[in-house]
């Protein structure tokens, strides 16, 4: 996180705000609710309390405008800059302006969710500058998150509390979800949730994020899963790309989601049993598509199943024990990937490199092998 500096904060905890005008995109109550919820994001973790006034000058004046709108920073039409806000201070200090050439929404990702944009801008109104943590609310680039399940990330909590301290009022009856942290790609102890290929890229899933690694780029890029696939699950169990159907499948508990590029495939999520897995299987640990045979292996505890992608049926003679086929693999399988003809089975922080045809183990590597640490 970063702040504008110690002297650029409010020297009081009671802050007033005023909604000066409205966007035609949403009903007034939806704007009111979005703004109030966005302020509560910060109130929950600090002593700050926000009071709405309906006339006169508030600490935080909230308005919608287009192009040149009365300050030195004209907006730029649709997309690009969505909004901006000013550091705490008198006059324009603390004010938040929203570009009304954008399409703002209450909850739908068919536009920019006003609650998310406002919560970010109010971070500036309270003294936070931008964070380079891609998982932070104060990261400068917009990313879709589910407003109903939004929890202020740890980086932002640390930032705002560095200026105003903690929220001393604790309501024991409410158990607060922990602020999510952004995983470190080079953490040697990190256990990945899942790995998959996607049209020549490699995706490494962890919590609500994934790293994208592609041949032309040296640096894996961290992104929120929901920024790529808004309705996708996070903290998934397994993932694989079926090169036959050109789809990526994400698995979580008993459900499976399918995406073709950016688009969610209609009819999903489906259940694990739609892949022919027995009903007794409640979740899978990993999935691997074998290009050579066109089969997909589903790993469950110490066993694995084989699914024929062409016939869309489970192969006979499964499940088999993992260590029967993959010599030396005694731990729990956590992810699986096939890349350039080699099969990589992840177990904890390690990755085992095999020939799937012979089951021969070539090397034992670290999870970060493909992540260029």
């Amino acid at each position: 996180f970063s702040t504008f500096g110690k002297n650029l904060k409010w020297e009081k905890n009671r802050i007033t705000y005023r909604i000066v005008n409205y966007t035609p995109d949403m009903s007034a109550p939806e704007v009111d609710d979005s703004v109030e919820k966005a302020l509560q994001v910060w109130a929950k973790v600090t002593p700050l309390r926000f009071t709405r006034i309906h006339s006169g000058t508030a600490d935080i004046m909230i308005s919608f405008g287009r192009q040149a709108h009365g300050d030195f920073y004209p907006f730029d039409g649709p997309d690009g800059t969505l909004a901006h806000a000013f550091a705490p201070g008198t006059g324009i200090g603390g004010d938040a302006h929203f570009d009304d050439d954008e399409h703002f929404t209450f909850r739908s990702n068919r536009g920019y969710i006003l609650f998310l944009v406002a919560a970010h801008e109010f971070g500036h109104s309270l003294g936070l500058s931008h964070s380079d943590d891609p998982g932070a609310l104060m990261y400068p680039v917009y990313s879709y998150r589910n407003p109903d399940t939004f929890v202020l990330p740890r980086d932002d909590v640390n930032g705002i509390q560095s200026l105003y301290g903690r929220n001393s009022v604790k309501d024991p009856s409410v158990d607060k979800p922990q602020p999510p942290t952004t995983p470190d790609v080079c953490d040697s102890t990190m256990v990945l949730d899942a790995v998959a290929t996607l049209r020549g890229e490699m995706l490494f899933f962890k919590d609500s994020f994934f790293w994208r690694s592609f041949p032309q780029s040296n640096t894996p890029q961290l992104s929120l899963i929901t920024n790529f696939w808004p309705k996708a699950p996070t903290h998934i169990d397994a993932a694989y790309e079926s090169q036959q159907s050109d789809r990526v499948f994400l698995f979580k508990d008993r459900r499976v989601w399918a995406f073709a590029g950016y688009n969610r495939v209609r009819g999903y999520p489906k259940t694990l049993s739609s892949f022919g897995l027995p009903r007794s299987v409640k979740k899978i640990d990993a999935a691997l598509y074998d290009v050579e045979s066109g089969k997909t292996l589903f790993f469950v505890d110490r066993s694995y199943y084989s699914y024929d992608e062409t016939r869309k049926t489970m192969d006979q003679g499964f499940p088999k024990r993992v260590d029967q086929t993959f010599s030396g693999l005694t731990g729990k399988v956590t992810a699986a990937l096939q890349y350039r003809g080699y099969t990589y089975i992840y177990s904890g922080p390690y990755m085992f490199e095999y020939s799937l045809r012979t089951g021969r183990l070539f090397r034992v590597l670290r999870n970060s092998y493909f992540l260029r640490c």
Partner: protein
């Protein structure tokens, strides 16, 4: 993306982005006398901030990041 695919428009857009969000100021005097150009230096700063590969040149990742919808507050701490 090989440099040859970067158009003049891309370079113009990139400079506007760096001026707006990374405090790129107009360069005075010949670049060669001052070594790395201000644009390249600011590009490196922006690539470092967004966790991109730090090349100091305009590449596909960097251009993609510049086109993403975002907040209008600068990324370098000049708010005061």
């Amino acid at each position: 993306v090989p440099v040859s695919q970067v158009t003049e428009q891309d370079e113009h857009d990139a400079e506007s982005y760096l001026k707006r969000f990374f405090n790129l100021t107009e360069e005075k005097g010949p670049t060669s006398r001052r070594g790395v150009s201000a644009v390249s230096s600011k590009l490196s700063e922006m690539q470092r901030f967004f966790g991109l590969h730090i090349t100091g040149t305009l590449d596909a990742d960097t251009m993609t990041m510049m086109k993403k919808p975002r907040c209008g507050v600068p990324d370098t701490n000049i708010a005061s």
